[in-house]
């Protein structure tokens, strides 16, 4: 009987562990409404439609953080014509090294900005690239930037 209880507890614990691991551990700022929380991504939006999108991408090639940041910046600047405003090293809530890139572009005549944060989490068979994107028009972007950065710095792998 005792063994059966232990087995059930272990099973429940395992399920909880799996379910918690399957969701992205990210809390957006309070001004954002979470509209989707899935195993590989999370979407949140403000009333004025500033968008926050957290996604995981598998990396079987294990390119590593610096490689992906360099590839990303080149594509943004050279291919898309984004204006690179700043880029800097950052850390998440677990102390994992990451990198943020701040760019600007014009969409439909409006100046839009994006904060894109990249983290690379190692895995058994493949790495996991975590990308946090915050996109808004320039005015709204400046208003929410600090709170988004705070959320990113508290994010868990």
């Amino acid at each position: 009987m005792r063994i059966q209880r232990r087995s059930i507890a272990t099973l429940v614990f395992s399920l909880l562990a799996v379910s918690s691991a399957s969701c992205i551990s990210f809390d957006p700022p309070k001004s954002f409404l979470v509209t989707w929380r899935g195993a590989a991504d999370l979407k949140a939006i403000t009333p004025d439609e500033s968008k926050l999108w957290v996604r995981n991408f598998p990396d079987v090639d294990r390119g590593g953080l610096s490689f992906w940041v360099e590839a990303l910046k080149r594509d943004f600047v050279d291919n898309r014509g984004y204006v690179l405003i700043s880029d800097a090293a950052i850390k998440d809530g677990a102390g994992t090294a990451g990198h943020e890139v701040l760019v600007e572009s014009t969409v439909g005549g409006r100046p839009m900005r994006e904060l894109l944060c990249v983290f690379v989490y190692g895995g058994l068979f493949e790495d996991n690239i975590r990308v946090v994107e915050f996109v808004a028009d320039k005015t709204a972007f400046d208003r929410e930037l600090t709170s988004v950065r705070t959320s990113v710095s508290a994010m868990r792998p």
Binding site: R55, N79, V107, M112, E114
Partner: protein
């Protein structure tokens, strides 16, 4: 005999504009209105237009002389004699009416033109032409173009005396593949408007004189309404004259430049990244697929 309406007046004449007689159409048509009834029948055009009206035929024997000096006529005297509906002018002309033409003077011609020019570089040609027009004390009225299609259209206004030389110069820009020039003689039109204007101004002045003498409220209101109507008419004619004179003074030329050369610059072609996940991130992707 010819009869034509000019604003509130009827201009009657034989053949050309000389011997024109002005009859106030309003007073003629409403001959029974009493105080407002007045006529300029058989009066001559005076002032600057009188010079244009003069003709050797005026001095021919047997021709009826002008009846009076409008400016010198006492207002009430005219008001006392209701105007007839049909002009009571001199003896009817036996010959058919000729086309009326203003008296001798410089012809008033509006020149317009358009040309299509094949050039090596559209943008440079537009700049060069704009500079040249400024040198000729003209100006660019409208300009539009499409760099992608290597085409541009420029509408210019240049002083009339320099219009033809500028058209000739277009050959130095490239190959003129099409050219259209038109000239519209508006001498008669300007003359007519001036004539109508002067008549209307005289009528208005006369009404103002009558207004001073009017005592009954009904009469005053009628005269004031007529003065307002005439004032509007006068302003309209002045505007028409201004427009015509501007069109005469400055000719309009539209030049269409085009080039067979490929566009100077092509927009950057975005190539996708070799890395799939990078293609999925970015401002455009978030805005479109969020």
């Amino acid at each position: 005999m010819r009869q034509r309406h000019a604003g509130n007046a009827v201009v009657v004449g034989e053949g050309s504009s000389e011997e024109s007689t002005i009859i106030d159409a309003t007073s003629s048509a409403e001959g029974s209105r009493g105080f407002l009834d007045f006529a300029f029948s058989d009066m001559r055009v005076e002032g600057k237009l009188a010079k244009r009206s003069e003709s050797p035929r005026d001095s021919m024997p047997g021709r009826s002389a002008p009846m009076g000096n409008f400016a010198g006529s006492p207002p009430m005297a005219a008001a006392d004699s209701p105007a007839p509906l049909t002009p009571a002018v001199g003896p009817p002309a036996p010959k058919p009416a000729e086309t009326p033409t203003p008296a001798a003077g410089p012809r008033l011609v509006i020149y317009r033109g358009d040309a299509t020019v094949l050039v090596a570089a559209v943008e440079e040609s537009v700049k060069k032409l704009s500079t040249r027009v400024a040198e000729l004390t003209g100006y660019v009225e409208n300009q539009n173009g499409n760099a992608g299609e290597n085409r541009a259209s420029v509408t210019l206004r240049v002083p009339a005396e320099r219009f033809h030389s500028l058209v000739e110069e277009l050959g130095t820009y490239g190959q003129v593949t099409q050219k259209n020039i038109s000239a519209t003689d508006v001498t008669k039109q300007v003359f007519d408007v001036e004539l109508r204007l002067e008549t209307a101004e005289r009528s208005r002045q006369r009404l103002l004189d009558l207004l001073k003498l009017a005592t009954k409220m009904e009469e005053i209101l009628k005269i004031e309404a007529e003065v307002r109507r005439l004032t509007d008419e006068i302003e309209g004619m002045k505007g028409e004259l201004r427009f015509l004179r501007d069109q005469v003074a400055f000719s309009t030329l539209t030049v269409n430049f085009y080039s067979n050369a490929p566009p100077p610059t092509s927009p950057p072609h975005r190539t996708s990244s070799r890395f799939g996940w990078i293609n999925d991130v970015g401002i455009d992707q978030v805005e479109q697929t969020f």
